[in-house]
Amino acid sequence: MNNIMAEVEALIMSGHGLTIQDIMKLSERNRNEILETVDRIQEEYSHVNHGVELKNIAGKYSFFTKSEYFDLVSKIRKKSVSEITNSQMQVLAIVAYNQPLTLKDIEKFRGSVCANQIKELISMGLMKRKRDKTKKGNPYIYVTTENFLKALGISDLSDLKEEFVENTKISEDVWNSVPPES
């Protein structure tokens, strides 16, 4: 007989952000059982003897090392977000607020080429490339990933993102007014 706490812990620790629905489906347990278990796990890991904690970010549960151990942990994390270069951070910000964007869009926005920054951001799992199926030729478009939210530890960027994406589409004219070289 499997232990429900152990089951949920194993799932969340090995997954990269699971929703309550994901955990319900995977463990074949009902919603109340999972909610209660997640609470119990959260409570247990809130103890000072634990250096990691269970967090709900954008509706997905993941374990993170506690913020008070950030300095300690960042000693071993070579490619952590804290080591993102200035130009990478800029590309990330542009994409975060205006996604999805094509490479051309990003470069127009930034006023300089950024294929390298994009490549590195993708390899760090903070951005990803997809095909835009709505456009002819299905061009590549760039979006930020769940990892990006996780890495920044923010849970509510999605609200903000919607605001920008839905309501404030920047018109082509504005795009065109961006100076090609800054």
Binding site: F70, Q90, L92, L160, I170, D173
Partner: protein, 226 residues
């Protein structure tokens, strides 16, 4: 414990020998052939005689054991004792190999079922000057601004030139040397302009024209401006 008489239960004669030694609670190196020969022979007699190569291995061992047993009973000479010791040594090595192989298999199969875990760090709220924190501050300022503007929502068709905006923000900052991000964004008339202003701040950060201090304030970079 009864011996399973089906063929294939034992991989070879040493396998059966080891089984009997364990059954009699002997150490392989202390093998006493006389005590297990009868059982060994009994097994071989009941064996399926299908695979000649395998059965001949068992028959050969059975005859060796019977020979040693009879000599041990009649006249336990130095030669016979040495033969028993030789088989004991081989049996010991076989048992070592068998157990180690089983261990290797068990460990391998167990570890195949284990997944490694890796956990991301959370950022400390007290972090200063590092880029993610700067980014967080900008996000928060923009969010505040957006929430503020939600209440007075209006649409404008006006276009905001990025280059004009840069000059505007630059002169704002040059004048006051130090400004809160939300105050800069607050100079915008609507959401669209807020976005352009926000990107302008990013651009000026990138150019090192300004930096952000710990109070979420944009400060002009004196070094940059001489």
């Amino acid at each position: 414990m009864d011996i399973n008489f089906h063929s294939g239960s034992f991989e070879g004669s040493f396998d059966l020998l080891l089984f009997l030694v364990k059954k009699h609670k002997m150490n392989p190196l202390d093998l006493r052939i006389s005590e297990i020969t009868d059982e060994f022979v009994e097994y071989v007699e009941k064996m399926d005689k299908v695979d000649i190569e395998i059965t001949s291995d068992f028959i050969l061992m059975a005859s060796t054991l019977m020979e040693i047993k009879s000599k041990m009973l009649l006249n336990p000479s130095r030669d016979v004792i040495e033969r028993q010791e030789e088989i004991a040594k081989q049996l010991y090595e076989y048992s070592l190999l068998k157990t180690t192989t089983e261990k290797v298999e068990n460990f391998y199969e167990l570890h195949m079922k284990e997944f490694d875990i890796s956990i991301l760090p959370s950022f400390s709220r007290e972090m200063n000057d590092s880029l993610p924190e700067v980014f967080m501050k900008i996000i928060n300022s923009v969010k505040q601004e957006i929430n503020l503007r939600k209440r007075v929502y209006r649409i404008t068709k006006d276009l905001y030139s990025f280059s004009k905006k840069i000059e505007m923000v630059k002169s704002l900052i040059i004048k006051s040397r130090k400004m809160r991000i939300c105050d800069i964004i607050g100079t915008s008339d609507d959401k669209l302009e807020a976005v352009v202003t926000f990107v302008t701040i990013l651009e000026l950060l990138r150019l090192n024209f300004i930096f952000i201090d710990s109070e979420e304030t944009v400060v002009i970079n004196e070094q940059y401006h001489g």
